[in-house]
Symmetry: D2
Subunit: 484 residues, 4 copies
């Protein structure tokens, strides 16, 4: 089978008939035709089609060693820096297609699964661990080009550091039983982006160690598994018009709460369970972080390019390029973008082979880039608002341009270098990127993409190799040998 | 007649049948029943009713010296610090009613007109100036409790400092003719908030001096004057449910472009025209700035209280009050709020009588407070997003709570100190305040309320009395007498 | 006796012959003639003289109810808002004399002692507490115009939150014995500013509750008490020339470590000891915070004025007032200064009588102002550096102007509006304020004046009355009554 | 001759007997023994010696194609990326020797001259231009390992954008005459770092185009040329003890005003003059920027390492590594450092051959890195102050440790992981780096290293290739072809 076309993705999804709840109602009929989902499903389908575009198909796919079929490049387990760069090229193609705005293009989760598969042997010989099943699932996904989502945030009931969930009915998803067929899960996970809109849901332990034994598991199940329920948040689609809502009409991915209502996970899909030590070990040592961050950062870099293009288009439209404060603001975007680019490049240059023969990009530049983007992206959004000023508010609709008052709009909303309709298009894009409900959700998404920024900087500080520098200074001061 | 009730406001507005264009269509029928406008009109009506609430009516109105009727306190021309504080109390009542979120509660423009009236004699004896008409209109508005909007931004075609509009068809509104009946205006003004939703439109010269003679005028005309057209931007109402859209369903004020299609302004409504010197003089010396800033800042202070309450409610709901970074963030809001409060108080303590016997609040603390708020408000919004984190995204709708999955929501979305439904209400409020299209427009509005922040700081620096401090330091250094 | 002249201060100090160690040597002879101390001692003497300047002596002193003599206004226990403002006027006079740069002008500690005295009855009837001795000492100090320092920081050995000092030889000062004559103290306190340069040292428990019993005490002893040792840090005086070092030559106050080498504190000077509960209670409830913050903030406000004058003098000297980024920077200083002013004023307007009949300034505006200044002052310093640019480096000395190359300096270092010598004076002042070892110590001092900023914001958040605002929002959302 | 040892540098300098004025006196005798200069001269001598250290001499020197001697690697004109990296290695060696703190290690100006030489043919065939003399001087400097300074800032008399120097006696250095022997220069230049402490002074036109013809020239002359005078600023050396002043005692480089008192520049040293067009062309197109920025940024990166080591040593000494705000601050340093590293690496990876066969590092990442460092370095300095807190003030001297009170210091100033003497050493280093007059001059130096930050961001914005991104967004919006 191998790399699919968009149509197969859509058909497969419609056939699954997942239990999706939206605005108090269960979705009936083809999800791909539902107003809240059709935009994102079409966009995703276009990404799958891109795998077969003649001029880039060699960059988007590779020959499966198993089947000889062309499979998605995002499934490639890189053995060399060249293969790492091949992966990057593929990610750039996909990211460019949506201006980096689709947070969960297929490569994200394909990459996650690829990295899990590549480190499967970390689970070898450990109790309640089944590396071969993980490997098998990786191959299955690659050969069938399965679409996947994942979920790892537990409900935000109480974020006090001293909080412990009370006994009784689980809130966070837990193993409540195991039997011959598999393990039974009850409880919820928060915020599966595109939850219900993929073939599979990958679920695994994450967050703070140590895990509770009952919350320790990793598995993947079809989205239509019995008892699995996706409860959508409100939609952030502003409307169907791509003039009025150039981004949300196409890229609103939806997030959902995933409820496990006594869901049976069959044994062949259980990768590990109830072995907190092995799970912690796997979490810490696998290459998930390296590859997931690499994919996300490449997408964010492309998004930075899209942001810069948008900002410059605003500047040109209202002709503010002589102002010194505009130079300041535009330079901030340029500096942010170039910083991302350099750090990603460095992570690739400094990549090294792990014990499984996988070429992992260097982690420190990726961590740094992740911290950088989570800070600069919200600032980019603010800059666009500051450049656009009152123009971000004066937003007539497509229908207004199609009405008797068009001549007024043409006259009074013209830009220095653009006719009114184009000017409004440009400002609506700037608005949809930064000020619509869709845009602000994007900001929040990028801000927290890699986790709580407070914890991220703690991790960066603790894992950064500082000793050489301490030693240099100690020598300079002729201190007794540094003991810490 | 005197201070009106909400019902009179609504009836009068419906009767006017102003030419309002929304989404490509002209509004037909009662504007007060149109989905895009009914929320704000109801809210504004409630404000008018508040003038008659027995427990505060003495604080909301005063006895007109002309008619002996109770008229709105916002029309009071204060002669003493006590009257200044009476004005403040009235503004606080109105602001509290909407959490400071309605930017153009009636007191704003009433105050503007009050200040114009109070300085009318600045126009006495000057060519093309009619101070008595201005005074008469102030009295008319006060006695009939007219609702008013104004507009003073010219179209943002080209913001280059070197740009001059080309000859020919005007873009910015201009006098194109004067005749026996009055002056004829052609062109547009940008961004009249509540444009079309008021009895009158007040139009006057503003912005950079010197004015062009043809762009120099001040007048007020009924909103239904022939040739006057209000072209609305897209609406930012998210929906009718006050659960889902607690703010936008009630407070979306709409902004419109005001088109003057050969509008005749009758002479009795012309306050001045084609006298750039007199207009500049009037702009510079009247008390508009003092009173308009005073009103706006009081409202913003009340909004700051509402923001603080919302933020603290989030903190309590998810129980994050032990975190040091939360202390930091909450303290930022507290500091911002208290700073506003202290500056406003100081402007009142340092108020002084002007040449017309009006007690003007001191301008420097008001300018400072304006600069402060335009910076802290966007930061407040960011802080709320940072406290709410992923909770700002997981937003089910009212209908979801009214459906079979309510039990899941009740379980998985409960907060540390709140049931799920209340928790969702709280987060939806936080979202509507900071992340909805309504909320982000509010942010942009507050950021630019007093004008371009870049120009505001220039003005603050230039007008601030620095000489004493320079002298002190010069004396300390025993410099020759400071010559600058 | 009453309010002293500078000469008495100096004579008294020289007679004490305190044990002061500086740069490895014990000070011998008159401390007032030692190069490291004479500048500050002269400056302080001038402040004492100011108490008798005919035109302001009524503002600097009041008639002692005890002796009928004129005593320092800083000892006045205010019973009304008028008296609070009298105190403020006195503080402004003293602060202006040094541009607010002397951190420990006499009013600071006089105020501390005044507030302790005013709350002495909090200690009444409690074990190991002697309120009458505290009252007596307050009166003694007032009548004799004693100069005082205090010290309350324990050595910074290990700031880990988990650190506990080991048994054995004390590091932080502790009671190691009590006998008929008094209590015996061993250990050290850090950072007594002007330590050794005052008549008395006031020592009391501070910092985190609960106190250890052995670290719980409050007393004052003469600086020349046996076993009391002041170990100075390195001096930050740049040199004697007031041209070259306009600030450090006069205002370097010195900080010292205070060592208690088995120091006997006689009973009549012990205010409390070994009663952690009473001490904690006293700390929490007395008016120290109110009055100490009030004094410090008034001084800081005056310093803000001096900073603004200095910055503006730079701007004029090199004529950069047209630049927009200069407007930005100067406005930041103006905004900071005006914010301080408004908050201090508000603390006075909202003052209220405590249970002892003392008019305490409101604490919330003072806390806010303290947080504000600790942030804006370092930024002010940065702004001056940014305005001065390379001019902050090109600093010839007084002797260079007194040499054959003066003509070159006159030519090449002239400013737009100043001759070279004045220009250099101005830049040297800017440098001494912001970049000399003296200036940077000032920055650090202001940054930490009120304690660790991290803890300060925690305290502000926790003590700020937020409930009304939470209630308002809860009502708006029609939540069940807020339970927290 | 080739690469010299330190002794030759010193001897040559002492023989020159340059006219240096310091603190109102002309330096007599050996400058290398003068207290204000001996530290820096010794340090620089050690750098020259480093060229011959056996283990790295191949990295520090290369074989001259002209003489066959080993000459300094900083003179290498790179033809390949490998040679570019060789240059970098050499720069790292030199920078590490001083923790990146010596701003003008010899490689800086050697690099400048190398880049000028490499682009000499830009001057070919142009009036008043002598490329062969420039080439000859480059070779001379390389073969004799001349030490050089340069100067390009004109006096800061009046920085108004509208300022024009008045006729008459020149202030900024100008050509006042030309004759058979050469051109005669009168006027001054500001801020030659190490002015008077080098063999040669390189002078060329810089700053804003277009140049005045009389201010257009490039030449190099021996520092002891008649009429050439170096007027030093005040010294920032705190004292001779390397315990007390670990940095200033060794690294204070001095800055001086360079006065040209009718200085004759002989024709063979004139590279161009009075050809503003050619000079402008040369300035714009040569590789000065690429290589000078490359050198400076490598040094700054090494300095960033030194800063990180110092900060971490503080953290360990007082054991504050558990605090979340410490993680934040330390991460800021890490992020800044890694960003620099990645950008420099990228500039090398993207290097390309210019028309003269020279491998220029890519300019955009260098410009970005320059903007980054000028912002993060002052923040690094602030972070160190915030970590050190009161410990930055409590600074006893070396002599105090050598006195009877040492036992008190040992006890009360010990750190969590360090004895008192080491702790004080560490804090004194932190202080000398960030708070001494030496340290703050370093901050100012780094802040302005590449020029006025305001102008730098303008340049970055204007030269950055944005078109592709604008095109992408235009295509996304299906705009008419972008016309700007």
């Amino acid at each position: 089978m191998g790399a699919i076309y968009g149509k197969e993705f859509i058909d497969r999804l419609d056939r699954l008939n997942n239990e999706i709840w939206f605005d108090g109602e269960r979705i009936e009929g083809k999800v791909s035709e539902h107003p809240a989902f059709k935009g994102i499903i079409q966009t995703k389908a276009a990404l799958y089609d891109l795998q077969h575009r003649p001029d880039i198909k060699d960059e988007m796919t590779f020959i499966s060693p198993l089947s000889g079929e062309r499979v998605g490049m995002s499934y490639l387990q890189p053995k060399s820096k060249e293969e790492l760069q091949q992966r990057r090229k593929m990610m750039e193609h996909w990211a460019r297609h949506t201006g980096g705005i689709m947070g969960r293009s297929p490569d994200y989760l394909n990459t996650v699964l690829m990295s899990f598969g590549a480190s499967a042997s970390l689970l070898s010989g450990k109790e309640h661990c089944f590396p071969e099943r993980l490997q098998a699932f990786y191959e299955l996904a690659r050969e069938q080009d399965l679409s996947i989502t994942h979920t790892f945030i537990t409900p935000q009931v109480n974020r006090s550091p001293f909080y412990m969930e009370k006994e009784g009915e689980p809130i966070a998803a837990k193993i409540i039983e195991e039997n011959e067929e598999g393990i039974i899960i009850k409880g919820a996970r928060l915020l599966a982006t595109q939850g219900g809109l993929t073939d599979e849901v990958l679920v695994f332990s994450a967050g703070r160690f140590p895990f509770e034994e009952e919350e320790t598991f990793a598995f993947s199940i079809p989205s239509n598994t019995k008892g699995l329920r996706f409860i959508c948040r409100d939609t952030f689609i502003g409307g169907e018009s791509s003039f009025d809502h150039p981004l949300s009409s196409q890229y609103e991915e939806m997030d959902s709460i995933v409820v496990f209502d006594n869901v049976l996970v069959p044994w062949e899909r259980v990768f590990y369970y109830k072995n907190a030590e092995a799970a912690g070990n796997f979490s810490t040592l696998n290459s998930f972080q390296h590859f997931a961050k690499h994919q996300a950062l490449v997408r964010q870099m492309i998004k930075g390019e899209f942001v810069l293009g948008t900002a410059e288009l605003l500047v040109q439209t209202i002709n503010v390029k002589e102002y010194q404060h505009i130079h300041d603001k535009m330079s901030e975007i340029i500096i942010g973008l170039e910083t991302m680019r350099a750090l990603i490049e460095r992570s690739e240059n400094e990549a090294s082979l792990d014990e499984f023969g996988i070429m992992r990009p260097a982690i420190i530049p990726l961590k740094v880039a992740g911290s950088v983007f989570s800070k600069v992206y919200p600032r980019f959004m603010e800059i666009i608002q500051l450049i656009g000023a009152s123009g971000m508010i004066t937003l007539p609709t497509e229908k207004a341009f199609d009405s008797p008052i068009r001549k007024d709009l043409d006259r009074y909303l013209q830009g220095a270098s653009k006719p009114a309709e184009e000017r409004v298009k440009i400002f609506r894009l700037a608005w949809d990127l930064t000020m619509s409900a869709f845009g602000t959700r994007q900001t929040q998404y990028e801000r927290y993409f890699f986790g709580d920024p407070v914890r991220l900087v703690g991790d960066l500080y603790q894992t950064y190799p500082k000793n050489d520098y301490v030693e240099t200074v100690s020598n300079f001061l002729q201190l007794e040998k540094n003991k810490e």
